[in-house]
Amino acid sequence: MKVKINGKIAELDASLSLLELLEVKGIKPGQAVIQYNGDIIDRDSWTDIVLKENDELEILRFVGGG
Protein backbone atom coordinates (compact mmCIF):
# COMPACT_ATOMS: atom_id res chain seq x y z
CA MET A 1 0.00 0.00 0.00
CA LYS A 2 1.39 3.38 -1.00
CA VAL A 3 0.81 6.53 1.03
CA LYS A 4 2.48 9.91 0.88
CA ILE A 5 4.17 10.95 4.11
CA ASN A 6 5.75 14.40 4.32
CA GLY A 7 5.92 14.65 0.55
CA LYS A 8 7.54 11.26 0.00
CA ILE A 9 5.86 8.07 -1.20
CA ALA A 10 6.09 5.37 1.43
CA GLU A 11 5.26 1.69 1.05
CA LEU A 12 3.44 0.25 4.05
CA ASP A 13 2.94 -3.48 4.57
CA ALA A 14 -0.19 -3.46 6.59
CA SER A 15 -3.09 -1.23 7.43
CA LEU A 16 -1.85 0.92 10.24
CA SER A 17 -3.69 3.47 12.31
CA LEU A 18 -2.13 6.91 12.62
CA LEU A 19 -0.95 6.03 16.10
CA GLU A 20 0.59 2.75 14.92
CA LEU A 21 2.35 4.58 12.10
CA LEU A 22 3.97 6.95 14.60
CA GLU A 23 5.13 3.96 16.65
CA VAL A 24 6.63 2.34 13.56
CA LYS A 25 8.39 5.59 12.75
CA GLY A 26 9.66 5.96 16.30
CA ILE A 27 7.89 9.23 17.02
CA LYS A 28 6.35 9.78 20.44
CA PRO A 29 2.68 10.74 20.00
CA GLY A 30 3.06 13.76 22.29
CA GLN A 31 5.70 15.23 19.98
CA ALA A 32 3.79 15.33 16.72
CA VAL A 33 0.79 16.83 15.03
CA ILE A 34 -0.80 15.14 12.04
CA GLN A 35 -2.53 16.52 9.01
CA TYR A 36 -4.38 13.70 7.22
CA ASN A 37 -5.59 14.36 3.68
CA GLY A 38 -5.58 18.06 4.47
CA ASP A 39 -7.40 17.88 7.82
CA ILE A 40 -5.84 18.39 11.23
CA ILE A 41 -6.63 15.30 13.27
CA ASP A 42 -7.16 15.39 17.03
CA ARG A 43 -4.94 13.04 19.00
CA ASP A 44 -8.08 11.29 20.28
CA SER A 45 -8.81 10.10 16.74
CA TRP A 46 -5.35 8.75 15.93
CA THR A 47 -6.36 5.17 16.75
CA ASP A 48 -9.61 5.41 14.77
CA ILE A 49 -8.11 6.47 11.45
CA VAL A 50 -6.62 3.59 9.48
CA LEU A 51 -4.44 4.41 6.51
CA LYS A 52 -5.58 3.46 3.04
CA GLU A 53 -4.04 3.60 -0.43
CA ASN A 54 -3.03 7.10 -1.62
CA ASP A 55 -3.59 8.85 1.71
CA GLU A 56 -1.51 11.96 2.21
CA LEU A 57 -0.02 12.71 5.60
CA GLU A 58 1.92 15.59 7.04
CA ILE A 59 3.60 14.68 10.30
CA LEU A 60 4.95 17.84 11.90
CA ARG A 61 6.60 18.93 15.08
CA PHE A 62 8.16 21.96 16.67
CA VAL A 63 11.74 22.93 15.95
CA GLY A 64 13.84 25.94 16.89
CA GLY A 65 12.69 29.13 15.19
CA GLY A 66 12.67 32.88 15.68
Binding site: G26, V33, I40, D42, L60, R61, F62, G66
Partner: protein, 258 residues
Protein backbone atom coordinates in the same frame (compact mmCIF):
# COMPACT_ATOMS: atom_id res chain seq x y z
CA UNK B 1 6.14 44.59 40.35
CA UNK B 2 6.39 45.64 36.70
CA UNK B 3 4.08 43.15 35.00
CA UNK B 4 3.40 42.88 31.29
CA UNK B 5 -0.18 41.74 30.67
CA UNK B 6 -0.29 40.29 27.23
CA UNK B 7 -2.15 37.61 25.32
CA UNK B 8 -4.14 36.65 28.42
CA UNK B 9 -0.98 36.09 30.50
CA UNK B 10 1.06 38.06 32.98
CA UNK B 11 4.81 38.02 32.55
CA UNK B 12 7.70 39.83 34.15
CA UNK B 13 10.50 39.17 31.65
CA UNK B 14 10.39 41.53 28.69
CA UNK B 15 12.96 39.62 26.69
CA UNK B 16 11.43 37.09 24.32
CA UNK B 17 13.73 34.43 22.91
CA UNK B 18 13.80 33.04 19.39
CA UNK B 19 15.15 29.50 19.41
CA UNK B 20 16.47 29.09 15.86
CA UNK B 21 20.11 28.87 14.74
CA UNK B 22 21.60 27.55 17.97
CA UNK B 23 24.48 25.19 17.24
CA UNK B 24 22.69 22.71 19.50
CA UNK B 25 19.26 22.76 21.12
CA UNK B 26 21.02 21.53 24.26
CA UNK B 27 22.22 25.12 24.78
CA UNK B 28 18.64 26.27 25.31
CA UNK B 29 18.18 25.40 29.00
CA UNK B 30 21.26 27.44 29.92
CA UNK B 31 20.20 30.31 27.67
CA UNK B 32 16.71 30.37 29.15
CA UNK B 33 18.06 30.28 32.71
CA UNK B 34 20.69 32.96 32.11
CA UNK B 35 18.33 35.38 30.40
CA UNK B 36 15.25 34.71 32.53
CA UNK B 37 13.00 34.61 29.46
CA UNK B 38 9.43 33.41 29.86
CA UNK B 39 8.36 33.49 26.20
CA UNK B 40 10.07 31.50 23.46
CA UNK B 41 9.25 31.24 19.77
CA UNK B 42 9.30 27.95 17.91
CA UNK B 43 8.65 26.88 14.32
CA UNK B 44 6.68 23.97 12.91
CA UNK B 45 8.36 21.62 10.44
CA UNK B 46 7.98 18.19 8.94
CA UNK B 47 9.47 15.41 11.04
CA UNK B 48 12.68 14.24 9.36
CA UNK B 49 12.50 10.46 9.68
CA UNK B 50 15.95 10.02 8.14
CA UNK B 51 17.62 12.25 10.68
CA UNK B 52 15.99 11.64 14.07
CA UNK B 53 16.93 14.21 16.70
CA UNK B 54 16.05 14.86 20.30
CA UNK B 55 12.74 16.71 20.39
CA UNK B 56 13.51 20.38 20.75
CA UNK B 57 10.70 21.08 23.24
CA UNK B 58 12.40 18.71 25.68
CA UNK B 59 14.96 21.49 26.18
CA UNK B 60 12.39 24.19 26.89
CA UNK B 61 11.38 24.88 30.49
CA UNK B 62 7.77 23.82 30.92
CA UNK B 63 6.97 27.15 32.55
CA UNK B 64 7.79 28.98 29.30
CA UNK B 65 5.03 30.31 27.10
CA UNK B 66 5.43 28.95 23.58
CA UNK B 67 4.86 31.28 20.66
CA UNK B 68 4.82 29.21 17.46
CA UNK B 69 5.59 31.26 14.37
CA UNK B 70 4.18 30.85 10.90
CA UNK B 71 7.55 30.96 9.17
CA UNK B 72 7.43 29.52 5.71
CA UNK B 73 4.04 31.12 5.02
CA UNK B 74 3.89 33.29 1.91
CA UNK B 75 0.18 34.09 2.13
CA UNK B 76 -2.39 34.78 4.85
CA UNK B 77 -4.05 31.43 4.15
CA UNK B 78 -0.81 29.55 4.70
CA UNK B 79 -0.17 31.43 7.94
CA UNK B 80 -3.67 30.61 9.17
CA UNK B 81 -3.15 26.94 8.34
CA UNK B 82 0.16 26.80 10.21
CA UNK B 83 -1.37 28.57 13.23
CA UNK B 84 -4.23 26.06 13.42
CA UNK B 85 -1.82 23.13 13.19
CA UNK B 86 0.36 24.64 15.91
CA UNK B 87 -2.63 25.05 18.19
CA UNK B 88 -3.66 21.45 17.52
CA UNK B 89 -0.22 20.45 18.79
CA UNK B 90 -1.50 21.53 22.17
CA UNK B 91 0.84 24.36 23.06
CA UNK B 92 -1.59 27.15 23.76
CA UNK B 93 -3.13 29.88 21.64
CA UNK B 94 -0.24 32.29 21.06
CA UNK B 95 0.98 32.69 17.50
CA UNK B 96 3.50 34.95 15.84
CA UNK B 97 2.33 35.76 12.32
CA UNK B 98 5.13 35.81 9.84
CA UNK B 99 4.22 36.13 6.16
CA UNK B 100 7.27 36.62 3.99
CA UNK B 101 7.65 36.51 0.22
CA UNK B 102 10.87 38.48 -0.05
CA UNK B 103 13.85 36.15 0.12
CA UNK B 104 16.62 38.73 0.16
CA UNK B 105 15.58 40.97 3.05
CA UNK B 106 12.89 38.71 4.54
CA UNK B 107 10.62 41.71 4.95
CA UNK B 108 7.08 40.86 6.04
CA UNK B 109 4.00 41.38 3.88
CA UNK B 110 1.91 43.67 6.08
CA UNK B 111 -1.24 43.20 4.00
CA UNK B 112 -1.25 39.40 4.15
CA UNK B 113 -0.18 39.59 7.80
CA UNK B 114 -3.21 41.76 8.56
CA UNK B 115 -5.57 39.32 6.86
CA UNK B 116 -4.15 36.41 8.88
CA UNK B 117 -4.38 38.50 12.07
CA UNK B 118 -8.08 39.22 11.45
CA UNK B 119 -8.91 35.55 10.88
CA UNK B 120 -6.90 34.17 13.79
CA UNK B 121 -7.97 36.79 16.34
CA UNK B 122 -11.59 35.85 15.58
CA UNK B 123 -10.68 32.20 16.24
CA UNK B 124 -9.43 33.08 19.71
CA UNK B 125 -5.71 33.15 19.07
CA UNK B 126 -3.45 35.65 20.82
CA UNK B 127 -1.97 37.08 17.64
CA UNK B 128 1.47 38.68 17.46
CA UNK B 129 2.03 40.02 13.95
CA UNK B 130 5.62 40.52 12.80
CA UNK B 131 5.46 43.61 10.61
CA UNK B 132 7.21 46.47 8.93
CA UNK B 133 6.77 49.46 11.26
CA UNK B 134 3.99 51.28 9.45
CA UNK B 135 1.56 53.28 11.59
CA UNK B 136 -1.54 52.68 9.48
CA UNK B 137 -0.89 48.96 9.25
CA UNK B 138 -0.24 48.79 13.00
CA UNK B 139 -3.58 50.51 13.70
CA UNK B 140 -5.31 47.98 11.48
CA UNK B 141 -3.56 45.10 13.27
CA UNK B 142 -4.73 46.52 16.60
CA UNK B 143 -8.29 46.97 15.31
CA UNK B 144 -8.21 43.40 14.00
CA UNK B 145 -7.54 42.18 17.54
CA UNK B 146 -3.76 41.71 17.66
CA UNK B 147 -2.40 41.10 21.17
CA UNK B 148 0.67 43.20 20.31
CA UNK B 149 2.50 44.33 17.20
CA UNK B 150 6.04 43.28 16.46
CA UNK B 151 7.83 45.81 14.24
CA UNK B 152 11.25 44.92 12.90
CA UNK B 153 14.35 46.88 13.91
CA UNK B 154 16.24 45.74 10.80
CA UNK B 155 16.14 42.65 8.60
CA UNK B 156 15.91 39.24 10.31
CA UNK B 157 19.26 37.85 11.38
CA UNK B 158 21.17 40.93 10.22
CA UNK B 159 22.33 42.15 13.68
CA UNK B 160 22.06 45.68 12.25
CA UNK B 161 20.16 47.13 15.18
CA UNK B 162 17.33 49.67 15.38
CA UNK B 163 17.46 51.08 11.86
CA UNK B 164 13.72 51.75 11.95
CA UNK B 165 13.94 53.62 15.24
CA UNK B 166 11.91 56.68 14.27
CA UNK B 167 9.06 54.60 12.91
CA UNK B 168 9.05 52.40 16.00
CA UNK B 169 9.01 55.53 18.16
CA UNK B 170 5.84 56.62 16.36
CA UNK B 171 4.20 53.22 16.91
CA UNK B 172 5.04 53.38 20.62
CA UNK B 173 3.53 56.86 20.76
CA UNK B 174 0.37 56.07 18.81
CA UNK B 175 -0.56 52.42 19.31
CA UNK B 176 -2.17 51.45 22.61
CA UNK B 177 -1.24 47.77 22.53
CA UNK B 178 2.24 46.46 23.40
CA UNK B 179 4.98 47.13 20.85
CA UNK B 180 7.55 44.32 20.77
CA UNK B 181 10.64 45.06 18.72
CA UNK B 182 11.46 41.93 16.76
CA UNK B 183 14.28 41.20 14.35
CA UNK B 184 17.63 42.82 13.75
CA UNK B 185 18.64 43.60 17.32
CA UNK B 186 22.29 42.62 17.39
CA UNK B 187 23.64 44.01 20.68
CA UNK B 188 22.35 44.29 24.24
CA UNK B 189 22.74 48.09 24.00
CA UNK B 190 20.21 48.10 21.14
CA UNK B 191 17.77 46.06 23.19
CA UNK B 192 18.22 48.51 26.06
CA UNK B 193 17.60 51.42 23.69
CA UNK B 194 14.35 49.90 22.45
CA UNK B 195 13.21 49.44 26.03
CA UNK B 196 14.22 53.00 26.99
CA UNK B 197 12.04 54.22 24.13
CA UNK B 198 9.06 52.46 25.69
CA UNK B 199 8.88 49.19 23.81
CA UNK B 200 6.92 46.64 25.86
CA UNK B 201 9.43 43.90 25.07
CA UNK B 202 12.03 42.80 22.55
CA UNK B 203 12.44 39.50 20.77
CA UNK B 204 16.03 38.37 20.20
CA UNK B 205 17.26 35.26 18.45
CA UNK B 206 20.25 35.51 16.14
CA UNK B 207 22.30 37.82 18.35
CA UNK B 208 22.19 35.26 21.16
CA UNK B 209 22.29 32.12 19.03
CA UNK B 210 25.38 33.06 17.01
CA UNK B 211 27.38 34.65 19.85
CA UNK B 212 30.58 32.87 20.77
CA UNK B 213 29.08 32.22 24.18
CA UNK B 214 25.29 32.15 23.78
CA UNK B 215 24.61 31.65 27.49
CA UNK B 216 26.68 34.70 28.49
CA UNK B 217 25.11 36.74 25.70
CA UNK B 218 21.65 35.67 26.86
CA UNK B 219 22.47 36.95 30.34
CA UNK B 220 23.75 40.23 28.86
CA UNK B 221 20.50 40.69 26.93
CA UNK B 222 18.45 39.92 30.02
CA UNK B 223 20.32 42.60 31.99
CA UNK B 224 20.08 45.11 29.13
CA UNK B 225 16.33 44.67 28.77
CA UNK B 226 15.84 45.13 32.52
CA UNK B 227 18.09 48.21 32.51
CA UNK B 228 16.30 49.74 29.54
CA UNK B 229 12.90 49.10 31.03
CA UNK B 230 13.93 50.57 34.36
CA UNK B 231 15.28 53.66 32.60
CA UNK B 232 12.02 54.08 30.71
CA UNK B 233 10.03 53.87 33.93
CA UNK B 234 12.46 56.29 35.61
CA UNK B 235 11.70 58.91 32.95
CA UNK B 236 14.84 60.03 31.09
CA UNK B 237 15.67 63.76 31.19
CA UNK B 238 15.28 66.10 28.24
CA UNK B 239 17.89 66.30 25.47
CA UNK B 240 19.39 69.79 25.16
CA UNK B 241 21.43 71.51 22.51
CA UNK B 242 23.95 73.26 24.78
CA UNK B 243 25.81 72.38 27.93
CA UNK B 244 24.21 72.81 31.31
CA UNK B 245 26.70 72.59 34.16
CA UNK B 246 26.33 69.70 36.53
CA UNK B 247 28.40 71.41 39.30
CA UNK B 248 27.18 74.67 40.82
CA UNK B 249 29.11 77.60 39.32
CA UNK B 250 29.92 79.39 42.58
CA UNK B 251 32.40 82.13 41.90
CA UNK B 252 34.91 81.95 44.72
CA UNK B 253 37.93 82.13 42.37
CA UNK B 254 36.93 85.42 40.86
CA UNK B 255 34.20 87.93 41.44
CA UNK B 256 32.42 87.51 38.13
CA UNK B 257 31.86 84.14 36.52
CA UNK B 258 33.08 84.27 32.93
Amino acid sequence: MDVLRIGGKEITSRLFLGTGKFSSDSLLPGVIRASGVQVVTVALRRVDFDNPQEYMLNYIDRECILMPNTSGARTADEAVRIARIARAAGCGNWVKIEVIKDNKYLLPDNYETLKATETLAKEGFAVFPYMSPDLMAARQMRDAGAAAVMPLGSPIGSNRGLKTKELIRILIDEIDIPIIVDAGIGRPSEAAEAMEMGAAAVLVNTAIAVAEDPVAMAEAFGLAVRAGRKAFLAGPGAVKEYAEASSPLTGFLRDTEQ
